[in-house]
Amino acid sequence: MPQSGAVTENRWILPAAEFQQLLDSLQRLGYQIIAPTLRDDAIVLEPIESADDLPIGLTDEQRAAVYRVKRRADKTFFGYAVGPRSWKYYLYPPNLRLWQAKRNGDGGFEVIPEEGEAPRYAFLGVRACELAAIAIQDKVFLGEEHRDHFYARRRENALLIAVHCTHPAATCFCTSMGTGPRARGGFDLALTEVLDSKEHFFVIEVGTELGLAVLDGVPVQPATERHWQQAQQVVENAARRIVKRMDTTDIKDLLYRHLDSSHWEDVAKRCLTCSNCTMVCPTCFCHTVEDVTNLQGTVAERRRKWDSCFHVDFSYIHGSPVRVSEASRYRQWITHKLASWQDQFGVIGCVGCGRCITWCPVGIDITEEVRVLRRSEEGKAAQSSPKEESHANA
C-alpha cells in the first residue's frame, strides 16, 4: 500500500545544474534509466544516460487528434505532459517470449520457461496519472489467482522517480479522476521542478528507503520552507490550468444503462477501430499469443503480443467474431474502461492522462462521449417535466 506523502519530513533540493548526479547515482546502483526524450517529433520514454537527453526546453501542445512538440523560451526539463508511450511499454512489453519448446527424442517435447534476470529499470519522470496507471496494472497482473511473473519481476526491480506535473496539456483530466497532478504515493522519489528568473532547482521528496539510498552521493541540500512553498505553488497552478473534465458520478451504471444506446452507432461513424487508443492507454492490458516454430519444426516458441479489442478478430469464435460492428467494439472499450473494469478490479480503468484523445486520428474524446450519455438522460428527464405540468393544470 503506497504511503501518502514522503516517508520522512526530509525534503531536499537539487540544483538543475547537478541533475546529472542523480542519473549517475542510478547508474551506480545498476539501473537502466528510462526517461522522456525527444524522438521522431514526439516525447517518448526511452533509455537515457545523460541528463542532456531529457527534452530540455521543450513542451507539448495536445488536443484531440493533435500532438506537437514545441520549443519553450526557458530550459525546463519536464515542461510537458505525457507522450504516446507509457511505462507499460517496459513493465508489460509489447512483444515478449513466454517460453520455448524443443522436440526431444521421446517423441515429445519439453518446455523451457524463460529464466534469467529481469531488467532493472529506473523510471525517471513518472507522472501522477502514470503512477495511478501502474497501480491499476498491478491489480491486473499481480492478482490473487494468477500472478504474471514477467510483470512481477520487472515491477519488483523498478525504481520509480515521480515528477509532479507543472505543465498539463489541454487533453489532461487527471483532476476529474482523482489521480493528479500531484503524485500521492507509490514512488521512491518525487520531484517538483521549480524554474523562475533567478533559480532552477528540483524539490525532492523521499518515498522509500530505496529512494533515500539513491540520494547517496548526490549533492542535495535540505529544502527550506520557502522551497517547499514554491514547489507546492507550481503544482497548484498546474491543477488550475487543467480544463478538461469528466464527471465520474455513478459512471459505472451510466455506461451499463447505455449498452443499447444508439449513440454507439454515431461514434462508429467516426471511429476507425485503428486501436491507437488501446496502444497508448497506460492501463489497457489485452494481449494475444503467437505460436511459431523454426523452419525445421524442432523448436517452438510462444510470444505474447499487445492486442486490442478494436481488432475485428479479437472476439472471433466458431466462424465469426462476437463483436462485428464498429459500434459494438467501441462500446466494449469504453464500457470496459469506465464500468466493467470496476466490477473486475475494484477501480475505474481510466486515469485521465488524455492520451486516447490526443492520439485518436479522428479526435474522439472519451470525456465528450460520457457527456453525451449524461445529456441524453437529462434530455429525457426534461421531457417528462412539461407533461407533469400539463397534468397538474388539467
Binding site: 513466454l98 519448446a101 517435447f109 518446455v111 494481449h287 499469443v289 492486442d307 469464435i317 463483436r323 473486475q344
Partner: protein, 273 residues
C-alpha cells in the same frame, strides 16, 4: 503449473464421429493423475501449431485418465485430429468454474446437451452417477445434427440400462430408418419427466440452442437461478489476463465457463456483447 504447458502423452484416440474424436491423455512425468472438476477446461497445445481451450470430458472421480472430446473445426483441432498414440500434447489447466454438481444434490437434474456440448456434461454425469443416490431424477436431453453425429452412443446405452437415468435423443434431421426423435432439442423439454420447481438444469451447446433451451426451461417453470449454462468465448491465456474472453464484466475463462443463468441473463440476451 498454469503458465507453461505440461507435456501429456496420447494413450488412445477414439473416433466418436466423422469429425469428432476423444483423446485419452496421461502426464509424461510427475503425478499420474489430473484432478479437475466437471465443467472445467484445459488449454491444449499442439507443438508449434497453437493452443485452444477444450472442455474436459473424462470422469472427475477417476483422475488417472484425462479425456478431451474435440471437433475438427480449425487449424489446431485439425492438427490434433492427426495425433496418434504416443504423441505428446501440451496441457495447461484446469481452468474455469465447474457444474454445480454438489448444489444439485437432493433435486432432479435435467441436462440439456447440444452437439459437442455433451462433452463437458459427460463429466458431470460421471460424477452424479458415481453418487446416484444423492440425486432424484436425472434426465439427459441430447440433440445433435444427425444420427451419425451422436457422441458416446454405447456409453449412453449402457448408462440407460445400468443406472436410473433417462436419456432422450433427438436429431435435426435423419434418413428414413431412424427410430427415435427428429426435431430440435427444445422439443424434448415440455414432456421430460422432472419437477421444474425442484430441479437444476445444466445446459451446454451452441449459443442459439442454449438461448432457446433456457426459454423453454423457464416456460416449464424452472427458475433462472436454477439453470446453469456453459459459455464459450475466444481465449488466449485461460487465466483472465489477456482480455479476449470478456463477456460483460466477466472473464469466461475464470468467472465461467459455467454461469448461473440469472447472473448473465441481461448479457445473454444482448447482441455483440
Amino acid at each position: 503449473m498454469t503458465m507453461v504447458p505440461s507435456p501429456f502423452r496420447v494413450q488412445q484416440v477414439r473416433h466418436e464421429t466423422h469429425d469428432t474424436f476423444t483423446l485419452e491423455l496421461e502426464p509424461v512425468k510427475g503425478s499420474d493423475s489430473f484432478a479437475f472438476q466437471a465443467g472445467q477446461f484445459n488449454m491444449l497445445y499442439v507443438f508449434g501449431v497453437g493452443e485452444i481451450p477444450i472442455s474436459i470430458s473424462s470422469d472427475p472421480t477417476n483422475p488417472r485418465i484425462l479425456m478431451h472430446t474435440t471437433r475438427e473445426v480449425g487449424t489446431v483441432t485439425k492438427a490434433m485430429g492427426k495425433l496418434r498414440r504416443g504423441d505428446v500434447i501440451g496441457v495447461r489447466g484446469p481452468f474455469g468454474t465447474p457444474w454445480p454438481v454438489e448444489q444439485a444434490e437432493g433435486a432432479d437434474v435435467v441436462i440439456v446437451a447440444g452437439g459437442i456440448g455433451l462433452a463437458p456434461l459427460r463429466s458431470a454425469l460421471y460424477q452424479m452417477l458415481a453418487n446416484r443416490d444423492r440425486y432424484e431424477k436425472i434426465v439427459l436431453l441430447y440433440g445433435t445434427r444427425t444420427p451419425n453425429d451422436i457422441l458416446y452412443r454405447r456409453e449412453l446405452q449402457r448408462w440407460r440400462s445400468q443406472f436410473d437415468l433417462e436419456v432422450h435423443i433427438t436429431v435435426d434431421r435423419a434418413m428414413g430408418g431412424w427410430r427415435s426423435n427428429v426435431g430440435v432439442v427444445t422439443s424434448l423439454i415440455p414432456r421430460a419427466p422432472f419437477d421444474a420447481r425442484n430441479s437444476i438444469a445444466l445446459v451446454c451447446g451452441p449459443e442459439i440452442m442454449m438461448r432457446f433451451t433456457v426459454l423453454e426451461l423457464q416456460r416449464r417453470g424452472v427458475p433462472p437461478s436454477q439453470i446453469y449454462i456453459s459459455m464459450e468465448r475466444n481465449m488466449k491465456c485461460g487465466t483472465g489476463i489477456c482480455g479476449h474472453c470478456q463477456f460483460g464484466p466477466y472473464f469466461v475463462c475464470k468467472d465461467g465457463p459455467v454461469f448461473r443463468y440469472d447472473r448473465v441473463q441481461h448479457l445473454f440476451e444482448r447482441r455483440e456483447i
